[in-house]
């Protein structure tokens, strides 16, 4: 259940960053000052689309999977737990890559990207815990 809640929160973070890329908001609310730099850098695009757009798709998918896993008919289905481990594991890898770019290439931090990375890490830990429990 907690994974679904976290995925929903992450979805709003991703939508916020996507709105920025679409020009719907002027500047990001950013206490540490590097959000604009990160989100206007060449690495803010992936496969021709803003990274935030992929983030929205990712969180929608993860939320759907996490919510489905809470339904009674999937309660005993280990595949649902395994799917969540796969999704969140992929998220950890991609977030790690983005965090590396912030630290070593762009030399700036976007607090919203860091929040997203933390959410994904927590989701991954919960998914693994859930999967092991289902065993």
């Amino acid at each position: 259940m907690l994974i679904a809640v976290l995925a929903l929160v992450g979805l709003f973070v991703a939508v916020y960053l996507w709105m920025f890329k679409l020009g719907l908001i002027g500047s990001l609310s950013c206490k540490i000052g590097g959000c604009d730099k990160v989100n206007t850098s060449p690495w803010a695009m992936f496969l021709g689309q803003p990274v935030a757009f992929w983030g929205v798709l990712y969180y929608v998918g993860t939320f759907a999977a996490a919510y489905a896993a809470t339904l009674e008919r999937f309660a005993a289905d280990r595949r649902a737990a395994l799917l969540l481990v796969g999704l969140t594991g992929w998220g950890v890898l991609f977030s790690g890559y983005l965090t590396y770019l912030e630290a070593a290439v762009i030399h700036a931090w976007c607090q919203w990207c860091v929040v997203s990375a933390i959410i994904i890490c927590i989701m991954f830990v919960l998914a693994v815990w859930e999967w092991r429990r289902a065993e």
Partner: protein, 237 residues
């Protein structure tokens, strides 16, 4: 999940998700309206004017530092406040380098066109750099999050800088420099600039803000390449 076997709990959980979704959607809606979103109100068919570089220092200085910046970009503001004073004092005034500044308005900054227009209009009265500094130092007072009417703030700054108010207001209201601002952005894109601030020093591009020490090192390298290393030794530290 074991808990999901309890329908009542499942129902409560779904309600909780809906509540979170409503709160999140409301927060995003508030952010979008507060920031005066909707992007930049610029005619897409605006003709392309002339890209203008605003120079600081001796045009014959051996090294040229070209900067591309957006007046509403926080990183550009940090550079203008923290690094540019050193560049000015130690590299430009000593004759080692000159600075050429190009406006590069980014699409997500709705008020940057007004600010760029103000800088161009101040330039008509010989006060581009004064307006440049004022805009960067006060960004949080006129940026998209602060106001939907940035021109009012621009006119206030013009008055405070001692510009002829009627000429400045006429220039600002006419938006006659918009084609030139567009051309300046096009020039940045032509040079392959993808973020602000970006720099070209010695013919090489550098994306992102640079600290003074790094700029000094690059200028020194260029002086050595030009066979003017002695100039660097005599110059600033």
């Amino acid at each position: 999940m074991a808990n999901s076997k309890k329908p009542a709990l499942q129902k409560q959980f779904t309600v909780l998700l809906v509540v979170i979704a409503v709160i999140g959607a409301a927060a995003l809606g508030w952010v979008a309206t507060r920031s005066g979103g909707g992007g930049v109100a610029v005619d897409p068919n605006l003709p392309l004017g002339t890209a203008q570089a605003f120079r600081l220092g001796n045009p014959d200085a051996p090294v040229k530092i070209v900067e591309f910046a957006d007046f509403e970009c926080p990183a550009c503001g940090q550079f203008a406040m923290l690094t540019k004073p050193d560049v000015h004092e130690r590299l430009v005034k000593t004759g080692l380098a000159s600075v050429e500044f190009y406006v590069f308005p980014l699409p997500m900054h709705a008020n940057t066109w007004s600010a760029s227009n103000a800088a161009y209009c101040a330039n008509e009265q010989g006060k581009f750099w004064e307006m440049h500094d004022r805009l960067f130092y006060t960004m949080d007072l006129w940026n998209t999050q602060a106001t939907k009417n940035p021109d009012k703030k621009m006119k206030q700054y013009a008055a405070e800088l001692g510009l002829d108010a009627s000429k400045f207001d006429e220039c600002l209201d006419s938006q006659r420099h918009y084609p030139n601002i567009k051309a300046s952005g096009a020039e940045a894109e032509r040079q392959g600039i993808g973020e602000t601030p970006s720099f070209i020093i010695g013919g090489k591009k550098y994306a992102g803000s640079l600290p003074y020490d790094e700029i000094k090192r690059l200028v020194d390298e260029e002086l050595v390449r030009l066979g003017k290393a002695d100039t660097a030794k005599k110059g600033a530290k």
